[in-house]
């Protein structure tokens, strides 16, 4: 059995007939050809697969593509405005909030969710807000600095 699914990924509608068991993360990587989103633990614990569904964060390894039918999905590739990086992307770069980079797409989208719900988080709130995303390189210090920096940039821009 296949089911027709239409998902707008980073502004571009993608239509496919998919097996119902197809995970959203595979739809994004294989059919939408946006490979920034990573599959890490594949058990909804590590957060590498975090994307935005209609603007709200979700773990795409624990969401079926059929569940996102009709939705708009934003991945790391869709966060920038052309060549203009999102403030979170700028801050992760400037504050060295990554080393190997595998967790970074999910980490940035989880940070996006945090700042959507709390525009000026404390350090403790940043650490709590990112607890569903694991980084095995940085020890998190520079990730926290990057999120604070981005929050300040975004507050100034308003």
């Amino acid at each position: 059995m296949t089911v027709p699914v239409r998902i707008t990924v980073n502004g571009r509608p993608v239509e496919r007939d998919v097996e119902p068991r197809l995970l959203l993360v595979h739809f994004i990587r294989v059919f939408a050809e946006q490979t920034g989103t990573k599959i890490g633990c594949d058990t909804s614990q590590c957060g590498a697969c975090t994307v935005l569904i209609d603007g709200v964060s979700a773990k795409s390894c624990t969401t079926l593509a059929v569940q996102a039918d009709g939705s708009s999905v934003t991945t790391i590739e869709g966060l920038s405005d052309g060549e203009q990086l999102h403030p979170l992307q700028e801050s992760f770069w400037n504050k060295h909030g990554l080393q190997c980079g595998f967790c970074t797409p999910g980490m940035i989208l989880a940070s996006h969710e945090l700042l959507r719900t709390n525009a000026s988080p404390s350090e403790a709130e940043i650490r709590h807000g990112l607890e569903g995303n694991m980084c095995r390189c940085t020890g998190y210090q520079n990730i926290v600095r990057a999120v604070r920096d981005a929050a300040e940039t975004m507050a100034t821009a308003k």
């Binding site: 119902p20 995970l23 909804s44 969401t63 989880a110 607890e131 569903g132």
Partner: protein
């Protein structure tokens, strides 16, 4: 990981879900998917059909009436954790919902999917038992109400029959104070041990106490000896500590243990979390 193949059907209403369930014996209902999809991927569940009820609007939302909160089965953990009505009427439930998984999990996981799954390490069953919640179930014979004490029947086992649809969770609101405190597994955030307490206080003394512990047993355990030790007492720190000390004895003989925490460890740590939950609930009860 890929699930085994299954047929997919999307229901637009409870009535349609009812028809689909009748037409597809053994089908599983899909709400947010955060309990079911992991099981499908591990192939611990391999139903022939999955019926997606996730878009049924009538099953979503929180209303307050008649001294109780009615929480639609598709209400997400994030919605419950941020609801003013839940925070003021059933603080332990808002607290527990806000401690599930992480923000992305809470955006999609639902109260109905969570309790229908009945994972012993889950947070909400413990709170709903302590708060004496009732569950509204739509079945072929009509609608029925099931108490929390009867709903959770064993590990991953509930009172829901093959043709039943859980439509709402009803939680008594107001009165005293309640709280939920847990020892989280550091990766999954599931409860190694979680304690829920609900207290009412009048004239400086405790008029009723309800305490439940999850994570340690197949079904969350009511702590009758803790409750009895609190009734009629002024809730000083000493009284709470003395009552909580008995909590390990309320868990019975059949404790869960795994590579992360043995049954003995869970029993030993239980009084600590019961004490913290009672202290927070007592402060809220005023």
């Amino acid at each position: 990981m890929f699930a085994a193949n299954f047929e997919y059907h999307r229901a637009g209403s409870v009535a349609e879900a009812r028809q689909l369930l009748a037409a597809h014996p053994g089908a599983k209902l899909l709400a947010g998917g955060h309990s079911l999809i992991p099981l499908l991927k591990l192939r611990l569940a391999a139903p022939e059909a999955v019926i997606d009820i996730g878009r049924i609007g009538e099953l979503r939302g929180i209303s307050n009436g008649g001294g109780a909160l009615r929480i639609g089965a598709l209400t997400t953990h994030a919605e419950i954790a941020s609801s003013d009505a839940v925070k003021s009427g059933a603080a332990a439930l808002a607290e527990a919902a806000g401690l599930i998984g992480d923000p992305a999990v809470r955006n999609r996981g639902t109260i109905g999917g969570n309790v229908a799954h009945a994972d012993p390490a889950s947070d909400l069953p413990t709170v709903l038992i302590a708060l004496d919640a009732t569950f509204t179930v739509n079945s072929p014979d009509g609608e029925r109400s099931v108490s929390a004490a009867d709903f959770f029947q064993g590990m991953m086992a509930t009172a829901l029959g093959e043709h039943d649809i859980l439509t709402a969770v009803n939680v008594p609101a107001g009165g005293g104070g309640s709280a939920y405190v847990k020892f989280s597994h550091p990766a999954s955030r599931y409860a190694v041990v979680g304690a829920a307490a609900s207290l009412t206080v009048a004239g400086g003394t405790c008029t009723s106490a309800s305490v439940a512990v999850g994570g340690a047993t197949a079904v969350p355990a009511r702590c009758a000896s803790v409750e009895a030790a609190l009734a009629g007492q002024a809730l000083s720190a000493d009284v709470i500590a003395a009552a909580a000390a008995a909590a390990g004895g309320d868990l019975g003989d059949d404790l869960l243990g795994d590579v992360f925490a043995s049954g003995d460890y869970r029993r030993a740590v239980t009084p600590v979390y019961v004490q913290r939950a009672l202290a927070a609930a007592a402060e809220r009860a005023g």
